[in-house]
C-alpha cells in the first residue's frame, strides 16, 4: 500500500499538476483577466521552495535521505538537485513569458497548462527508477509539447508538431522495444534488478555470450530512443526544423529543460542498471554517437545564419559533449571523473544556454529577426544585453573564466582518465570548430556597424534573469567549487 507519507515526497510534482488545473480553471472562470504565465510562475516557485527545503533537509520525510514509492520513484539528493535545476530554468522561462511570448499565445492558458503538465513529467523523469514508469514519464513530457508546438497559429506550426509527433512516437516505440527485451531477459523492470542479470540468467540460455549481446542490443535501443529527448545522434533530425519554426519560448523549453530531464534519466538508468562488464561495451557505442553528434552539430552550424537554427545545431553538439562524460561514467569507482563532471556540465550548460537564448531573444526583438546578419552593430546601441550575450557565447565555446570552460575541462579529464583519449581529442577539436561560429556572432554584434534606428523597448524581466545567468557563468567559472561540491554531495546518494 502507498501511505500518505510516501505521497508527500512527490509534493513538488503535485504542486505543479495542481497549478496546471488552476490555470485552466481560472481562465474558464475569470477569462483572460488573469495572466496565466504569472500563475504558472507562482506554482513553479512554490514547488521550487519545497524542493529546495527537501534538498537542504529542512523538511524531513521519515529519517532517510532518500526514500521511494514502491521502488518506482526515488527521491534522493540527485533527483532533488536536478529537480531544482529544472524548476529554476522553468521559472525563468515562465517569468519572461509575458515579455517573450507572441500575442497569439499570450492569451492562451492552454499553453501554460500544457507547459506545467510537461514540466511535471520532466520532474518525474529525474526520479524514476523503473523502466515502465520512466517510459510513462517520458510520454508525459512529450505529448504536451506536441500541443505547445501547434498552438502557435503560424505557417510551419502544424508541420513541426507533426514532425515532432512522429519522431517522438518512433523513439518511444524503440525505447519500449528495448525495455521489453530487457524485461524478457531479466524478468524485472526495476533499474536495480537488471544489474545482476548475469547471475539471474544462469541456466536460461545456452550461450552466455548471446545473452550479453542481447542485453547490449536492447541497451542500444533504449539509448537511441532517449537520443530523441537529448537531441543527439541518431534521432536529431527534428531539432533544427523544430527549433527554427516553433515559438521562441518552446524552443527555449526544448533546448534547456527538456534536455536536462532527458539526460538525468539516461544517467540514472545507465548508472543504476548496467554492470561494469556490459558498460565497457556500451560505452563505446555512446562514444560513437557522441562523436557523430559533435561533428554533425558543429560542422552544420558553421554555415547557418539563422540564430535559432544555429543554436539547434549547437545544442546537438553540446549533447555530444555531455555524452563524452556519459561514455566515461565510472561504474564502480566513486571518483570524481565521469559522473560528477557530467552532472556539472549538464547544469553549467543549462545556465549558459538559458542565458544565451534569452539574450538572443531579447536582442532579436530590436531588429525583429533571428538572422545574425541583422544583429549588426547592436553592440553599441544595446550594449548591456550584447555583453551578456557574448559572455554566454564565450561560455558555450569554453574559454576560461567561464563555467563552460570548467565543465569542458572536467568532461575531457574524465574521458582521458577513462582511456578515452581519442574522444577527449575529438571534443577539443570540436570546441575549435565551434569557435568559428560563436565568435562570428560576437564579431557581427560588436565589430560591424549599422545606422539603423532601433525601437525604444525594454525588457526588464529578461534583463534581470540574463544578468543573474551571466553572473553565475562568471562566478562558477572562476570558482567552480561552489557548484561542484553541491553536485558531489548530491551524487553520493546514488553512488
Amino acid at each position: 500500500m502507498i501511505s500518505l507519507n510516501e505521497i508527500l515526497i512527490i509534493t513538488p510534482e503535485l504542486f505543479i499538476v495542481g497549478f496546471s488545473l488552476i490555470i485552466l480553471l481560472s481562465d474558464l472562470i475569470f477569462g483572460s483577466k488573469f495572466r496565466s504565465s504569472d500563475i504558472a510562475s507562482l506554482g513553479i516557485l512554490a514547488s521550487l521552495i519545497i524542493t529546495i527545503l527537501l534538498f537542504l533537509g529542512v523538511i524531513k520525510i521519515n529519517d532517510i535521505s532518500s526514500i521511494s514509492i514502491l521502488n518506482i520513484i526515488s527521491v534522493d539528493k540527485y533527483s532533488l538537485l536536478l529537480k531544482i535545476v529544472v524548476l529554476l530554468l522553468s521559472l525563468s522561462i515562465s517569468t519572461v513569458g509575458k515579455e517573450v511570448i507572441s500575442d497569439t499565445l499570450k492569451l492562451r492558458s492552454e499553453f501554460w497548462t500544457l507547459f506545467m503538465i510537461s514540466l511535471a513529467g520532466m520532474m518525474m523523469l529525474t526520479s524514476v527508477t523503473e523502466m515502465i514508469t520512466a517510459w510513462v514519464a517520458l510520454e508525459l513530457t512529450s505529448l504536451p509539447l506536441i500541443g505547445m508546438l501547434s498552438l502557435n497559429k503560424k505557417r510551419y506550426s502544424l508541420e513541426i508538431s507533426f514532425k515532432y509527433l512522429i519522431l517522438s512516437a518512433t523513439s518511444s516505440a524503440i525505447i519500449l522495444m528495448g525495455i521489453s527485451q530487457l524485461y524478457g531477459l531479466s524478468g524485472s523492470t526495476f533499474f536495480n534488478d537488471i544489474m545482476p542479470l548475469k547471475d539471474a540468467l544462469g541456466g536460461r540460455f545456452i550461450f552466455e555470450d548471446s545473452t550479453q549481446l542481447l542485453i547490449i542490443f536492447s541497451l542500444i535501443l533504449i539509448i537511441s530512443g532517449f537520443s530523441f529527448k537529448i537531441a543527439s545522434f541518431p534521432f536529431f533530425t527534428w531539432v533544427p526544423d523544430v527549433y527554427q519554426g516553433s515559438p521562441s519560448l518552446v524552443t527555449l523549453y526544448l533546448s534547456v529543460v527538456s534536455k536536462i530531464a532527458g539526460f538525468s534519466i539516461l544517467i540514472r538508468f545507465l548508472f543504476e542498471s548496467v554492470n561494469i562488464e556490459v558498460y565497457s561495451n556500451i560505452s563505446l557505442f555512446i562514444a560513437i554517437i557522441s562523436s557523430i553528434s559533435m561533428f554533425y552539430g558543429n560542422i552544420m552550424a558553421l554555415r547557418q545564419n539563422d540564430l535559432k537554427r544555429l543554436f539547434a545545431y549547437s545544442t546537438i553538439a553540446h549533447a555530444g559533449y555531455i555524452l563524452i562524460g556519459i561514455a566515461s561514467l565510472q561504474i564502480n569507482d566513486a571518483s570524481f571523473s565521469g559522473i560528477n563532471s557530467t552532472v556539472f556540465y549538464l547544469i553549467a550548460y543549462g545556465i549558459t544556454n538559458l542565458t544565451a537564448f534569452l539574450s538572443m531573444i531579447s536582442l532579436s526583438r530590436y531588429v525583429d529577426s533571428y538572422n545574425m546578419l541583422d544583429f549588426k552593430g547592436l553592440g553599441s546601441s544595446q550594449r548591456y544585453q550584447s555583453i551578456i550575450f557574448s559572455i554566454s557565447l564565450i561560455s558555450l565555446l569554453g574559454i576560461p573564466a567561464t563555467v563552460g570552460f570548467m565543465g569542458k575541462a572536467f568532461i575531457f579529464s574524465g574521458a582521458i582518465s577513462n582511456d578515452y583519449f581519442w574522444l577527449a581529442s575529438f571534443g577539443i577539436i570540436n570546441s575549435l570548430i565551434s569557435a568559428y561560429y560563436y565568435m562570428k556572432i560576437i564579431k557581427i554584434i560588436f565589430v560591424e556597424k549599422s545606422d539603423k534606428p532601433y525601437p525604444e523597448i525594454t525588457f526588464p524581466r529578461l534583463k534581470v534573469i540574463t544578468t543573474i545567468g551571466a553572473i553565475l557563468i562568471l562566478v562558477l567559472g572562476l570558482a567552480p567549487v561552489a557548484l561542484l561540491s553541491i553536485v558531489e554531495s548530491a551524487l553520493n546518494t546514488i553512488i
Partner: protein, 517 residues
C-alpha cells in the same frame, strides 16, 4: 617585498581595465582615459622593475609565491591558484611591464571607442603576466586562453586592412595551440596526479619503467603534443602563417604586445614544459629529438629571412623577421643536453635571452613603424623614402632597432644569438650544420634590415608618384612623450648588449635549476 605583490601585478591591470571600461561612464574619468591608462601601466612597469631587482639571486628558486589551494579542491581533481617566479620568468614579467607601458604610449592617438580599447589592452597585459607567473598548469592554461578574447577584439575592431579575417585566423590558430596544450596538461595530470609543475619534478619519474606515464599515453606523444602547441604560438615554420596577417592588420600597440610578449609565451612554454618539466619526466626525449629540432629551427630561420627580404610592407617585413628570429629559439633549445648541466647552459641561456631581447627589439621596431605610419599613412616601402630628413629621431631609433635586430655587437641581439650559436655548434653533427645554416640567417637579416632602412628612411625624399609626396613637407618628428617609450626600450637594448649579465644572471639561475630539480 610584501606578500601578494605578484598577484597584484597580475590582477591590477585586469581590474584597472575593467575600471576604465565600466567606470568611465562618468564624465570625469571619460576625459582622462588615456591619462589613467598611462598611470596604471606606469605603476605596473615600476612594480615589475622593483620585483625584478628584488629577486633574491642567492637563494634562487621560485619567489614571491602566492598560494590559494581552494580553487578546485577535490581529491581526484585538484588545481590551485599558485603563482611564483623564478630565474626564467622574472625577466619576462619585467618585459611585459615595460612593453605594456610602451604599448599605451603608442596608442595615445587612438580616438575610436577608446575606453574599450584601453580596457582590452590593460586586461591583456594582466593576463600575459599571469601566464608567465602561473605554476599550476591549469591556471597557466586559464591565462593562456583568456588572452584570446582581448586580442580578438583589439585586432578586429581597431585593426586595419583585412582585420576581421586576421583576427579570426589568429583566434583559430591560438585556440588550436591551446587545444594541444590542454590535452597535454590533462595527460600529465592523469599520469602524475598533480598540476603543479615543480611537484612533478619531485616524483622522480625518470627511469621508472612502467610508470603511470607510459601506460596511458607514451611520454613521447605528450612531448610532441606540447611541442606542436607551443610551436604554433611561437610560431615555427610551417605553422607560422597566422603571424604576418595578425601583425600587419593589428593596431601598433597590439603588434608591440603580440611580438613582444605573446610570442614569448610559446618560447616560455617550450622552456618551462618541454625542457624543464620533461627534464624530470624523461630527459631522453628532447635529447633524442634535438638534432631534428635544430634542423627545423635552422629552416625556420632561413625561410623566415628569405621571405622577409621580399616584403614591401614595413609591418609585414618585421613580422616575417620575427618568424626568422623565433627560429633561433628553437635552435637554442636543441642544445639541451640531458646528461650535463654545463653542456646546455649557453644554448638554453641564449634561448631565454633571445626571448627577452627579441621582445624589446621588435617591440621598438613596431613602435617606430607605428609612429611612422601615423604620419605617412602608408607602410608601403616603395612609397617611402628620405624620412630621416623630416623625422631624424624616429630614423635614429629605427636604425638602432635594425642594428640590434641584425645582431650588431654591443646591442642585445648579438649576445643572444652568439650564445645560441656557441651552444649548438660545439655539439657537432647535425647541430653544427644547422648552426652554420642559421648563421647565414644573420647575413640575410643584415640584408633585409639595411635595405629596408635605406629604402624608407634614407635618400633625398619620396618619389613624386607616392601618396606621401603631398604631405612630405609637413611630416614631423616624434613628440616628447613618444620619445620616452623609445628611450625606455633603447636603454634596455643597449644595457643588455653592453652588460648582458644584468639579465643572463637570472636566466642562468633559472636554467641551472632545471637540471638540479
Amino acid at each position: 617585498m610584501p606578500g601578494g605583490i605578484l598577484s597584484f601585478l597580475i590582477f591590477f591591470p585586469i581590474f584597472a581595465g575593467i575600471f576604465i571600461g565600466i567606470g568611465s561612464a562618468s564624465n570625469a574619468i571619460k576625459k582622462r582615459i588615456k591619462f589613467f591608462a598611462l598611470l596604471f601601466t606606469l605603476i605596473e612597469m615600476l612594480l615589475s622593475i622593483l620585483l625584478y631587482f628584488n629577486y633574491d639571486k642567492e637563494n634562487g628558486g621560485f619567489q614571491f609565491i602566492d598560494y590559494f589551494d581552494a580553487w578546485i579542491p577535490f581529491e581526484s581533481f585538484r588545481a590551485q591558484y599558485l603563482v611564483g617566479i623564478d630565474g626564467l620568468s622574472t625577466p619576462l614579467v619585467l618585459l611585459t611591464g615595460i612593453l605594456g607601458f610602451c604599448a599605451v604610449i603608442a596608442s595615445l592617438k587612438i580616438s575610436f571607442r577608446e575606453r574599450e580599447y584601453f580596457m582590452w589592452l590593460l586586461i591583456l597585459q594582466g593576463v600575459v603576466t599571469g601566464v608567465f607567473s602561473s605554476l599550476d598548469m591549469l591556471l597557466l592554461f586559464v591565462f593562456w586562453e583568456a588572452e584570446l578574447i582581448p586580442m580578438y577584439f583589439l585586432i578586429s575592431i581597431w585593426g586595419s586592412g583585412k582585420a576581421q579575417y586576421s583576427a579570426m585566423k589568429f583566434l583559430i590558430f591560438t585556440l588550436t595551440s591551446g587545444a594541444f596544450f590542454l590535452i597535454g596538461i590533462l595527460s600529465i595530470y592523469f599520469a602524475t596526479g598533480t598540476f603543479v609543475m615543480y611537484d612533478i619534478a619531485e616524483l622522480n619519474l625518470i627511469g621508472v619503467s612502467g610508470s603511470a606515464f607510459n601506460i596511458i599515453i607514451p611520454s613521447l606523444l605528450i612531448f610532441l603534443i606540447f611541442f606542436i602547441g607551443f610551436a604554433i604560438k611561437l610560431p615555427l615554420f610551417p605553422l607560422h602563417s597566422w603571424l604576418p596577417d595578425a601583425h600587419t592588420d593589428a593596431p601598433t600597440a597590439v603588434s608591440i604586445m603580440l611580438a613582444g610578449v605573446l610570442l614569448k609565451m610559446g618560447g616560455y612554454g617550450l622552456l618551462r614544459i618541454n625542457v624543464d618539466l620533461f627534464n624530470s619526466i624523461d630527459p631522453t626525449i628532447l635529447f633524442d629529438l634535438s638534432p631534428y629540432i635544430a634542423l627545423i629551427g635552422a629552416i625556420s630561420v632561413i625561410y623566415g629571412a628569405v621571405l622577409t627580404i621580399r616584403q614591401t610592407d614595413l609591418k609585414r617585413l618585421i613580422a616575417f623577421s620575427s618568424v626568422s628570429h623565433m627560429g633561433y629559439i628553437i635552435l637554442g633549445l636543441s642544445s639541451y643536453n640531458a646528461y650535463s648541466n654545463l653542456g646546455s647552459s649557453e644554448g638554453l641561456g641564449g634561448t631565454a635571452l633571445q626571448l627577452f631581447t627579441h621582445g624589446t627589439i621588435t617591440g621598438l621596431a613596431f613602435y617606430l613603424v607605428g609612429l611612422t605610419y601615423e604620419r605617412t599613412h602608408t607602410r608601403h616601402i616603395p612609397h617611402l623614402g628620405g624620412l630621416a630628413i623630416k623625422m631624424p629621431l624616429i630614423a635614429t631609433f629605427f636604425v638602432i632597432a635594425g642594428f640590434a635586430s641584425l645582431g650588431l655587437p654591443g646591442l642585445s641581439g648579438f649576445v643572444a644569438e652568439l650564445m645560441i650559436f656557441v651552444g649548438t655548434f660545439k655539439l657537432g653533427g647535425l647541430w653544427a650544420f644547422s648552426t652554420i645554416l642559421s648563421v647565414f640567417g644573420v647575413v640575410l637579416a643584415a640584408g633585409y634590415t639595411l635595405w629596408m632602412i635605406q629604402r624608407s628612411f634614407l635618400g633625398s625624399g619620396v618619389s613624386n608618384d607616392s601618396p606621401v609626396a603631398k604631405e612630405y613637407d609637413n611630416l614631423n618628428d616624434m613628440d616628447k612623450i613618444e620619445l620616452i617609450g623609445a628611450i625606455i626600450l633603447t636603454i634596455t637594448i643597449v644595457a643588455v648588449g653592453v652588460y648582458p649579465s644584468i639579465v643572463t644572471d637570472l636566466f642562468n639561475i633559472g636554467i641551472g635549476e632545471v637540471f638540479s630539480r
